[in-house]
Subunit: 427 residues, 2 copies
């Protein structure tokens, strides 16, 4: 009995059980057709729509929405066709969801024909984007070429190296597929993942998931992260087509399925906010390399002023400390390396923590921080290059701990009629 | 060496260490005065303000804000005066925070004089409310009357009884104090708790915390929960002063510190959304007792129609199933008992779960659901009475598991110059 057979049998058993429960409760279970007749009308609120089709996937250079739900999936399906069928279903659903339309029913009874939920009814598209990624496990898993894709794995889809200070939790790390839902409403983002999960029944399971948010700052303002500093001042922008082509998106030297694609690196970074909140502002600013209120580089006046890494104070010390975050992360100090940062803050309440700072308390502390997400055309020349230096020298490391994440190849965008990854599977 | 001494010694050691780190990094740590000179100007965006002072605390009948951060604290302080000093600091901070002003520095060096963070700078008040509650542990803990308040514990502040199906996790349950921050921005709500946490240093620690959110539905619409149903249709409203006086707020028979106060019951309810998402709409509707799209009671047309519990279908079965949630929870079926519901959805990603339904899978499933919060003048006549029936008979129980929560006495509101709980401590 294969994994797939087992899933199918379980599903049938499950539906039988649901029928029994309904009968016990004195209910006549509706046929799928009857139930579908009650499906919701199109939402009244439309809101803004982000395009789903195009040369690039949405959610990369898209102006950051307020909320994210990032899900990494493990594939259970033994057969290539199961994966293709799921990706077709995901593509159709994603196109409808981003338009704010009720997602189509799955015509394939093997997924149980589960009906879309009503949790996002009336909320409109809310600028939803769904960004799909392929992890190493899609190409080979435990040394096995499950789907005949082993030879197609790009060398840019690296196994992430370990860094000093990493405390990656296995159940928060990796995955065969990724889907990042971003929307201006948290319920819309989650609804989209729930619909994809319905369509993935028996084929893929969520391995880890992370919610994230941004503050409701004024349009054009750089949002502050939970450390209280403006985050993203020097980022690549959607208008910088040269920068995007050079640093973010794969070019025509990549395999066709990666044309217009990018590699996403996600890192769940717990920030010791109790510790940070007890630091003096001056120390915080030296750690970051920027002024807290204005966001200006140290020694400068305005947020967007260029940092002067050569400037020294009256004692001859650098104005931008050698181990400040901004200095170490800057392109100037990384052979010009740049990435497209698209981070969210996250807040998972509190968790049992053994402090890494005096007096080394153990107890409940904030499980909150930065859900760091970045895009690049080659992680070896992007995140890995930059973070290799940061992981060793960044003064911020005494406050930050990486506890999970992954790296995924996000294929290029698609045209109507195509499914996500079609050019990979048909290569 | 008392707990308090230890905290003080640790704090000094901690600050020394921070100085050492700064020195290693080539920094001259700023004096607190220097650092404070850089404190942020008042925020530019003002937004809407909810009043902090008044006969009742904010955050109870206040129209629900989009986000919440609920924190339960354990008290470490051995002395009554430490608690009073903290509550004074919390009160001053809360008054400023709800106005969107930078919270005042603590003048008391015993708290280390930690400066307010800048994470909410520019976000405005965002309708922030802070609602304070006192748990049983404030009155007696482990049989000890730590603060001379044992005789003041009201009988309404019950030890919550166990219910069938409870899976309460100790580290998500109870607490000596509670603070619920609600705001239209998640970063504003969290910022407020972080500021209170700074002021509580050495006196109280967070025991558990939970974030929550509501969808961005149109004004006047009843928000849908993660089950996809409208949630709160029949709730008590701020306009129903008779209902509030009868069911929600303590009257003049209560001790003076509880005049205008209420008892909050919080329950963290995981919903088996994978399971729910595979149920037919008809079955979902029978479970809830309402139509999914319109929100109307079964057999009725509009959301606010009165449910007809006597109606039967052509086979003589009740149109509102006997074990539907709405039927079991209704005042008609609970001797008229009512509560003020103020729930949020929560989404903590996924967690390892052993399913309670066929085929009893074990693995990562959504750790999301309802962060149920309700207010009442007597939990024995409110939550306990209603949930005793629900816990045994509600068809929804196959999808819901209570994993944490608490019950707290929320004292009446205060006037400027008073501190939260002053009338309790001066009684």
């Amino acid at each position: 009995m294969s994994e797939k057979d087992f899933a199918g049998a379980s599903r049938r058993g499950f539906l039988r059980s649901a029928g029994v429960l309904a009968a016990v409760a004195g209910l006549a279970p509706a046929s799928p057709a009857e139930a579908h007749a009650k499906e919701p009308p199109p939402p009244k609120q439309t809101g803004a729509i982000e395009p789903f089709y195009g040369a690039r996937q949405g959610g990369i250079v898209t102006s950051a929405q307020r909320h994210t739900y990032f899900a990494a999936f493990d594939l259970d399906a033994p057969r290539r066709d199961d994966v293709i069928t799921m990706l077709r279903g995901w593509t159709d659903a994603a196109a409808a969801l981003t338009r704010g339309e009720p997602p189509p029913l799955s015509g394939d009874a093997s997924y149980g024909g589960a009906e879309p939920g009503a949790d996002a009814l009336g909320l409109g598209p809310s600028r939803l984007t769904l960004t799909f990624g392929f992890g190493a496990g899609l190409f080979t898993k435990d040394g096995k070429d499950r789907y005949g894709l082993a030879s197609a794995r790009p060398e840019e889809l690296i196994d992430m190296p370990g860094f000093p200070g990493d405390k990656l939790v296995e159940t928060r790390t990796g995955g065969d597929l990724s889907v990042q839902a971003c929307a201006d409403d948290p319920q819309v983002a989650f609804h989209a993942i729930r619909r994809l999960m319905q369509l993935a029944w028996g084929v893929a399971r969520i391995r880890w998931a992370q919610t994230g948010f941004l503050p409701n700052c004024s349009a054009g303002e750089t949002p502050r992260n939970l450390m209280g500093f403006k985050d993203g001042t020097n980022n690549l922008t959607a208008k910088d087509e040269d920068g995007l082509a050079r640093f973010v998106f794969a070019g025509n030297d990549a395999p066709p399925w990666m044309h217009g694609g990018s590699y996403v690196v996600a890192r769940r970074i717990v920030i010791a906010l109790e510790h940070w909140d007890r630091m003096r502002v001056n120390f915080q600013e030296q750690t970051i390399g920027r002024q807290r209120v204005s966001g200006a580089p140290l020694g400068k006046t305005n947020e967007f002023d260029t940092a002067d890494f050569a400037a020294t104070d009256k004692d001859g010390n650098p104005v931008m400390p050698m181990n400040s975050h901004v200095r170490l992360a800057s392109a100037n100090n990384n052979d010009g390396a740049r990435i497209l940062r698209r981070p969210y803050s996250y807040n998972d309440g509190v968790a049992y923590t053994a402090e890494r700072w005096p007096p080394w308390r153990q107890g409940m502390e904030y499980d909150a921080g930065l859900f760091f997400i970045c895009y690049q055309r080659d992680p070896r020349e992007g995140f890995v290059k930059i973070f290799s230096k940061l992981a060793r020298f960044d003064m911020m490391n005494q406050f930050t701990t990486h506890t999970g994440g992954g790296v995924f190849a996000c294929p290029g965008g698609i045209a109507p009629g195509e499914f996500v990854g079609q050019r990979l599977f048909s290569a």
